[in-house]
């Protein structure tokens, strides 16, 4: 018996040595100017997203230890006004697998670099629908949900609650407008009516006078089932809640929100990921952290299963039927083969609890209910993935 153990031990060690694979990734952060907001209650951590990537890296390293797989992660920051494309050029010279924390226009410029042709760029920041449609690129995979996935999740909730008469307040930031556009598309998709829409263009300090201004501002909406707030920067939305003329729920960017991730997600083993993250980084795990964690883990999972660090091999595995990522959302996460979007459930939360998780029961799809969220194959005019 002892001999057998000895043989097994030798086999195991030999097996490990044989499988040595090293994978280096870079997290490329293209810093964006932060527009001012009315409240200073929620400062953004300087390492938003980056900490998530490091959490994923730790998970990969622990797994890789048993297989002779090693992982590294560099962080490159491009300051506001810096040359992001030049920085990306330099990064692509050393590693072809890059976690991209950049706005859509810069992401596309980088994706179109000749040096990026065979690269795998993992988008963790840009929610733009166009990146999953006409502006898709074969070398970009998205672990952050499109804004349409998030607005579809809320629209499903409206249907379930029979809130079919909605009104919306939209901020002036481009992100607010994009959110409102996606919401309009979702309402149409699920047969819901928007009976009023107003633009928030106040420049008053709402901390002082929300109680006076907001009731008047919302009075001419008349009656409705729920008020949608499109305020993706967190500027004015927080002052709408409890100040509306009609006593109606506030949803959208504030109140009941559809998110990639939230500290209140604890089911499906999520409590473990949350506590690992909090122990390590001394803050709670935010949406971008989750997208970055999922990006790094998706690559790690592909390395584990293919025993390879070749970007083309990893990409084709990630887009194959074999790939599945256990993402603490109760279902395996997979990539849409038509536009590289990571399919994922979308939690609907308020600051204290998970309310529901989309796709909601009853929203059916011939492939997977997850494809009721965001751009389904016939809706996406992306052709880059066809080859």
């Amino acid at each position: 018996m002892r001999l057998i153990w000895a043989v097994l031990a030798v086999w195991a060690i030999f097996g490990f040595a044989h499988a040595d694979v090293r994978l280096d990734m870079t997290y490329l952060l293209v810093e964006q100017p932060q527009p001012p907001t009315l409240s200073g209650l929620d400062p953004l951590p300087d390492t938003l997203g980056i900490d998530g990537a490091h959490a994923g890296l730790q998970d990969n390293i622990t797994t890789g230890r048993f297989l002779g797989h090693n992982y590294g992660l560099d962080v490159v920051r491009v300051p506001v006004g810096g040359d992001a494309v030049a920085a990306a050029q330099a990064v692509l010279g050393t590693t072809q697998i890059v976690v991209m924390d950049a706005p859509a226009d810069i992401l596309l410029q980088i994706a179109d670099l000749p040096d990026a042709r065979g690269a795998v760029l993992l988008n963790v920041a840009a929610e733009d629908v166009a990146l999953r449609a006409e502006n898709c690129r074969a070398n970009i995979l998205h672990t952050v949900p499109s804004v349409a996935m998030r607005t579809d999740a809320l629209a499903q909730f409206f249907v379930k609650k029979r809130w079919d008469d909605l009104v919306m307040i939209v901020g002036e930031h481009p992100g607010d407008v994009a959110y409102a556009d996606a919401m309009l598309r979702s309402l149409q998709k699920f047969g819901l009516k928007l009976s009023g829409q107003k633009t928030w263009a106040f420049d008053a300090d709402m901390r002082r006078n929300a109680a006076q201004e907001v009731p008047l501002f919302t009075q001419d909406f008349g009656d409705y089932n729920a008020l949608i707030v499109a305020d993706e920067l967190g500027d004015f939305g927080r002052y709408i809640i409890y100040n509306t003329w009609q006593a109606r729920p506030v949803v959208g960017s504030e109140g009941l929100t559809a998110v990639t991730w939230s500290p209140v997600v604890e089911q499906w083993g999520a409590a473990q990921l949350q506590s690992r993250f909090t122990d390590e980084f001394r803050r709670s795990m935010a949406q971008k952290d989750y997208a970055a964690w999922a990006a790094v883990r998706a690559v790690g999972e592909a390395v584990t299963r293919t025993n390879s660090n070749d970007p083309a091999t990893l990409r084709s595995y990630m887009l194959s039927d074999q790939f599945e990522l256990a993402g603490f959302k109760g279902r395996p996460l997979t990539f849409r083969t038509w536009n590289g979007q990571l399919r994922q459930p979308i939690p609907l939360v308020h600051p204290r609890a998970l309310v529901a998780q989309a796709p909601l029961e009853g929203f059916l799809h011939q492939r997977t209910e997850l494809d009721t969220l965001g751009l389904d194959q016939p809706e996406s005019n992306c052709t880059e993935f066809a080859q």
Partner: protein
Amino acid sequence: MIRMTLALMIAALPAVADEIWVSNEKDDTVSVIDIETLEVIQTYPTGERPRGITFSKDFSRLYICASDSDTVQVMDPNTGEILFDLPSGEDPEQFVLHPDDRHLYIANEDDAITTVVDTETRKVVAQIDVGIEPEGMAVSPDGKIAITTSETTNMAHWIDTSTQELFANTLVDSRPRHAEFAKDGTELWVSSEIGGTITVFNVADQSEIAKIDFNVTGVHPDRVQPVGFEFTNGDTYAFVALGPSNHVAVVNAQTYEVEDYVLVGRRVWHMDFNADKSQLFTTNGVSGDVTVIDVASRKPIKTIKVGRFPWGAAFRPTD
């Protein structure tokens, strides 16, 4: 008055029927089910977030993984009294008692460690680095191999119990949850919750013999999530809890084919049999109850309300 005295006398009498013990993860209690009457006869307080539970070989002690109390509690099942706490490492989730009736192999979910505790000296004997979120635990019948499965690393880690060191690591599908040795220790079965499969290994060389898929009519494959499972007499069949599909699968352990699906409560987790294995008791996390399945007919016969989020189940004979 007479009736009251009688009631008091009955309550004071030691239980005569066999029992199923159930840990209630979000109530910090264990419920005791009388197998004759199929009713809860006792509820005892435990530490925080009790999950894995198992009895000593003579059933004189109940070991409880009190996950959020970071300890394994030892309860006197006759009184419900916590006798003492064992060191367990952080966040013990599941464990298995070695055939020597003395060593507990404990999965420390938050620490990527398997802790080995001597229940006599009450000391930690070894800590073994394993993958992320270790959960499923098993020991071979001869006691020579212990298994830890790690949920995020997606592996079964094979531990040589003579050295307390890993001698093999085998990949399985996503989020392995539970492991059991079968057929006199010649096979190892590992369930993968997110992968939706059970992988069967040949223990002699850790090679994969079979992979079992599940297909519940009307439920999307993503929601068919195998977690806990147990074998019937002679390891003829495995009953496999399928989580949020709310079904238990009956797997022919010779052909590795699924023969039946039994409807149970919501998000079924773990299970245990009665003495002759004619009845199976499943814990249903979301619905907060236990389903009793008649093994021969493969039909659910009763639902028993227990505490919030029942997790583990353990059988205790009382004669």
